[in-house]
Subunit: 345 residues, 2 copies
């Protein structure tokens, strides 16, 4: 498909965020509005999304919140009409995929197909598709630098996690297919584990932060599963939102890039950091993994390389873990003091 | 799931072959009947399957041919009633997936889900699921010995091929999920490219054999795409059928194994072998790949290791390429002399 790669300025642009009543969605909506978007439509079926995370958007006349489901093409057709860009975030993650693979596969595959059809019908100029480092898989094979050409490892991983990762691989390819067939510009962003204010309970990895904080606030020793040497690579939600905006703004298309935080941490480092930032001197206790619970483990130390994102869309992470966690803790403590707002568990 | 792994003797057993009006399906039906099966039901929607490849089964009162579609659960429920074992072959392959990913994904994912539901509802004792070495992917990463833990490579591969491979990964995991949830015993067989009598035109790799033969029979020089150094690893259909039978007979479950021929060949070796076996002295000509056509290439020399199958189900390939090709050529020449029977292109 030979054409100039579409760059959509945020200022004056009209954007639809599908699965937008979420951590990443609401933060991106805020950013797009702050950058002068003419219209931001948030579509969500509120199965996982929460009214509370988007309630503040109702103050802005340029924002609109629409109840809709990615499995219902007519709702997507209506919501995407006149849009310059669509950000597709709606997905079943590993935990949901484990509990209900039928629905999860429908959402992660047919949902993407429906989004692509809606974009095509309404001549949307660019789609940003939220993929995941789950496309590199899990288990002993996942180690070292993970770059965009790293293959998908699945040996030893739970079924829900493998299905999730493979469904994201398919979602990416469906975008590529729509580009090839219909010239629909797209950028795939492979987020690492997102954390930040309005944190939900849905992502297996990000849970670790919230659970640690919850225990500390109850005066209980934080728990480290195993020896704590396992690697996690987190991404602050504000950096994720910036990546989404950059993907629209940049003259990039037909590309998939990693979007990860400045550096990985071990789970022990993470628990110690949360403990310190929460102002506690509780000492972590090491516990055995719980049977039957979805855990996503890698083999050795790894790092999700985000240098391709700098080249493709001019993005790099800006928020160190310490700063992002401090913000999350402040938000969480404030929310706990007032109401349970923001957490949809 | 703790229970004894189910072994189903073929003799006296009742078997359903889904997608059975096919190269592998019809050959397996023949084998099961020869080994004393009490009943063999072949279900096919005849979209790719051909009446001609199963017509001979109508002579055997123990065989039954049913028109049905994997997307129609009631048809699967009816066909699988009372069955000891189900062999699930129905799938969209890379070429179909490239042409129509919506239908392909429905067949390869929802189709498997429907099969699993039918097996569960009818308390089928074991499912044999036809997967593919496509779960190791394509492109430069695919080289060396491919074992069951080899990850999925997709960089540089066509969308249809990536989607096909990922859909097979998901299909395997859905079997694993049904085993874990409901105790449904299963064996996944990852076939390499199957060739043999009743060869169809549907598999991108196997086409090479038929196209070579067709050119020779027309008196045209056979064509080698590129330099001919590319590796292919074929599997004779009789060996595939034996693997299916062994997967039922063996006390194996919750396992995925490679099913490949004795040894890989390069495309140049293959073309020369077909030419020689066809009794021709035509010299191959090297041509450039055709643009837009689905081609599945690997990076370097590779070999699909089938030693795990020996351990899990007591199977190893028996038919050298030379012998299998000679049989295919005899069949093809005989069919060409009589009618076009067997090829569904």
């Amino acid at each position: 498909m030979d054409h100039d790669k579409t760059a959509i300025p945020i200022e004056g642009g009209r954007f639809l965020i599908v699965g937008g009543a979420s951590l990443v969605g609401s933060t991106t909506a805020d950013l797009l509005l702050r950058k002068g978007a003419r219209e931001v439509v948030v579509l969500d079926n509120f199965a996982f999304g929460a009214e509370s995370v988007v309630a503040h958007l109702r103050q802005d006349p340029r924002a609109r919140i629409v109840r809709g489901d990615v499995m219902r093409l007519p709702q997507l057709l209506a919501a995407s009409e006149g849009m310059d860009g669509v950000l597709h975030l709606a997905a079943a993650m590993s935990i949901s995929m484990d509990a209900d693979p039928w629905t999860g596969l429908d959402v992660n595959i047919r949902g993407v197909q429906n989004i692509l059809e809606a974009c095509r019908a309404n001549r949307v100029r660019k789609l940003v598709f939220a993929s995941s480092n789950a496309v590199y898989g899990y288990g002993p094979g996942v180690a070292g630098d993970l770059v965009e050409s790293t293959p998908f490892h699945s040996v030893g991983a739970p079924t829900g996690a493998v299905i999730y990762g493979a469904s994201k691989i398919i979602g990416e390819q469906l975008c590529r297919d729509a580009y090839r067939r219909h010239g629909l510009d797209y950028v795939v962003l492979r987020y690492s584990t997102v954390y930040g204010e309005r944190q939900h309970y849905r992502a297996a990895n990000a849970l670790y932060i919230i659970e640690t904080l919850d225990r500390i606030r109850r005066g209980e020793r934080p728990r480290v599963i195993g020896d704590g040497s396992e690697t996690k690579h987190f991404l602050y939600v504000g950096d994720a939102a910036r990546a989404n905006a950059r993907a629209f703004e940049a003259a990039a298309s037909d590309v998939a890039v990693n979007i990860s935080g400045p550096a990985p941490v071990t789970t022990l480092e993470l628990v110690r950091l949360v403990t310190r930032l929460a102002g506690s001197d509780l000492v972590p206790e090491h516990v055995e993994p719980q049977a039957g619970r979805v855990r996503l483990t890698s083999g050795g130390a790894f790092r999700i390389d985000h240098s391709a994102a700098l080249r493709a869309i001019g993005w790099a992470p800006e928020t160190p873990m310490e700063e992002g966690l401090a913000r999350l803790i402040r938000w969480r403590d404030a929310a706990a003091g007032l109401d349970a707002g923001g957490a949809d568990a």
